[in-house]
């Protein structure tokens, strides 16, 4: 929440007392890998590639930490994706995300291995864990980074974290000049995943969880699966509705088109607020970030906080009734017209050639 500081960014840094920078304090990177059902969350694998790139320029090491009931398979996967060392924290009580226990475990591990940078996936759970860990360590955390790189700021190399500001209408560069580790979260689908190399060698270090009853003040009792929501980030084709698609026939029409394309549906903030699309399938800055092969936006004007959620799609098609809508500025193909006619025509056309 860079509240007033965004306003004052011009002067913020120059007013800051700059101490001597010791590069060694930044060189090693720890990646927290969320595990679900024994597998590493995809975002952790995406982050590993970026961590390897950063470590190369910092001449540091990349380690990962995974917390769960069983972590062996996950640890092997992390090594294949580039982690030189994986800290595996196994405990039968940690099959589901336990906020208190995970905070304690991660803080202790960071205190022991003292990485300069800690990177975490900004999943629902990661966005809960990262700020608590940063607060307990008294260090800086930057949310929803779209890029991380080393850049000279105020005369010394620093980790620059780029985040979308004001719902994506601006990009803001954040640094954490003094406190270590520098922490950042990155949303799923924002970074590109590397290639796994099963022949890669790495060390798996078993770490005792060292937790007791007090570490379950908030106790996760069970997980209730509700849908194929996690399919959104994996989807190759996404059909997304904005406020304007509803009058054209609503969710049914969107579903039909998605089915005909073999894709999944999503929506903008207004479409979700109106209850037409579940919030879990909201695309945009406060929702999901997706990078499918094909993204079709229907009846959305294209506010920056929406388009930032799919800016990295390979191909973007925009369909809207308003030819002046900003959505057409970020699309590869555009059609202006009556959605009530165009969507059924697309469905027909797709069916006809099958």
């Amino acid at each position: 929440m860079h509240f007033e500081s965004v306003n004052e960014c011009g002067s913020a840094l120059s007013e800051e007392r700059i101490r001597h920078y010791e590069k060694d304090h930044m060189k090693d990177i720890l990646v927290w890998a969320e595990q679900r059902d024994g597998r590493a969350a995809g975002v952790a694998l995406e982050i590993l590639k970026k961590a390897l790139d950063l470590a190369t320029s910092l001449e540091g090491q990349v380690s990962a930490v995974v917390i769960g009931k069983e972590c062996r398979e996950c640890a092997a996967e992390l090594i294949a994706y580039g982690a030189g060392r994986v800290f595996a924290v196994e405990d039968p009580r940690l099959g589901l995300y336990q906020a208190d226990a995970c905070t304690k475990i991660l803080c202790r591990l960071i205190g022991e291995i003292r990485p300069g940078i800690v990177l975490m996936g900004g999943t629902s759970v990661g966005a809960d864990l990262a700020p608590a860990v940063a607060a307990r360590l008294g260090t800086g955390l930057t949310a929803h980074c779209t890029d991380l790189h080393i850049e000279a700021v105020e005369g010394r190399d620093q980790l620059v974290m780029v985040v979308p500001g004001w719902r994506g209408s601006m990009m803001v560069k954040i640094v954490c000049p003094e406190k270590r580790p520098v922490m950042a979260t990155i949303r799923p689908g924002v970074l590109e995943r590397g290639r796994p190399d099963p022949s890669r060698k790495g060390e798996i270090v078993a770490v005792s969880p060292d937790i007791d009853e007090e570490d379950f003040r908030a106790r996760t009792l069970e997980r209730v699966l509700e849908s194929e929501e996690s399919a959104l980030e994996q989807a190759k084709i996404i059909v997304s509705g904005g406020f304007g698609f509803y009058e054209a026939g609503g969710v049914d029409l969107l579903d039909q088109l998605a089915r005909a394309l073999g894709g999944v549906t999503a929506g903008s903030r207004p479409a979700c607020d109106a209850g037409w699309i579940p919030e879990s399938r909201m695309v945009g800055q406060s929702g999901r970030t997706v990078s499918p092969d094909l993204f079709i936006s229907i009846g959305a004007s294209g506010a920056p906080h929406y388009t930032t959620g799919f800016a990295k799609a390979k191909l973007i098609v925009a369909i809207d009734k308003n030819s002046k809508a900003p959505i057409f500025d970020i699309a590869d193909f555009g059609i202006v017209g009556d959605l009530k006619e165009i969507i059924p025509a697309l469905v027909e056309e797709l069916k006809a050639k099958e």
Binding site: M1, H2, S5, V6, N7, E8, C9, G10, A12, L13, E15, A99, T103, S124, A127, D128, A130, P131, A132, A135, T139, G140, L141, H144, V153, E154, Q158, G165, W166, R167, S169, M170, M171, K173, V175, C176, P177, A218, L221, E222, V224, S227, E229, E279, L294, P304, L315, A318, F328, D329, I330, D332, F333, G334, I335, E341, L346, E348, E349, L350
Partner: protein, 270 residues
């Protein structure tokens, strides 16, 4: 045993008008002049949830915000919805805070405002949109937390709450001991609008101003507040360039649809 609840809220520029925010490329400063301030949208759902819990169990609802003097307006709106009293954390020493320093000041303000069983927040603000403050506030208070919450059931006798927190593939059911910080998402409820009576009543309710000195009394050193207490810094702002070169496909709907599908097939996108 009634429940004393405090709701943290924030005043933000109207998110519907974020498009009007401009950047001066020469100075790197942000211009948001003329954009009216509103209560952060999801915070209204947090206020609503607190009112509902008070209606079910008795107790009180306090609302608290950190911000400039004009942030009083969002407290007045919450009082008009039915909250009992307001706390305005307002001091130049609080300015320039990142999430860590914000959470530290909020915690000190909460301590100075009384004893609470539950602190509710909106899950994130639309302007900063980090979603980091609720968890960091819980840490500053030394309390447990649950974020992304879409349902709260208070089990008063047990001193706990059963909540549902959203995850990508469904929900986690969590039992959390009170006091706790719970951050809610919009779908938790539909919030009420202030009534005329509520607006009239709000004028009689107290809004306490809390500054740096009161936070120091609550145990927070001045170095932990505002810019001084913020580990992160803004190093620059730039306009995002995401333009692609669009190819418009015209003609009758049927023809346009056919042409689009043909092009997509040609590119192996289908």
């Amino acid at each position: 045993m009634p429940l004393n609840i405090l709701v943290c809220i924030k005043q933000v520029p109207d998110p519907e008008q974020f498009d009007r925010i401009t950047l001066d490329p020469a100075t790197g400063s942000i211009n948001r002049a003329g954009i009216p301030p509103v209560t952060n949208p999801v915070d209204r759902h947090a206020i609503e949830e607190a009112l509902r819990i008070r209606e079910a169990f008795g107790g009180s609802v306090a609302v608290l915000t950190m911000g400039p003097p004009q942030a009083r307006k969002c407290l007045e709106d919450a009082l008009a919805m039915g909250a009992d009293r307001g706390v305005l954390l307002c001091d130049m020493a609080f300015a320039g805070a990142d999430t860590l320093a914000t959470a530290a000041v909020l915690a000190a303000g909460i301590r100075s405002a009384g004893d609470f069983d539950l602190v509710l927040c909106g899950n994130e603000s639309v302007d900063g949109a980090t979603g980091q403050v609720p968890a960091q506030l819980a840490e500053a208070l030394g309390w447990p937390r649950v974020t992304c919450t879409r349902k709260i059931e208070i089990a008063k006798e047990a001193g706990t709450a059963f909540v549902e927190r959203e995850i990508e593939e469904g929900v986690l059911r969590v039992e959390v001991s009170l006091p706790a910080v719970i951050a809610v998402v919009k779908r938790i409820n539909r919030y009420r609008l202030p009534t005329i009576f509520g607006i009239l009543e709000a004028g009689k309710k107290e809004i306490a101003e809390v500054g740096c000195a009161a936070c120091e009394c609550a145990g927070l050193v001045a170095e932990a507040m505002g810019l001084a207490g913020s580990p992160t810094r803004v190093a620059g702002v730039f306009q995002s360039h995401r333009k692609r070169h669009v190819e418009m496909i015209g003609g009758e709907s049927k023809d346009a649809a056919r042409e689009l599908i043909r092009r997509l097939r040609e590119m192996d996108a289908l």
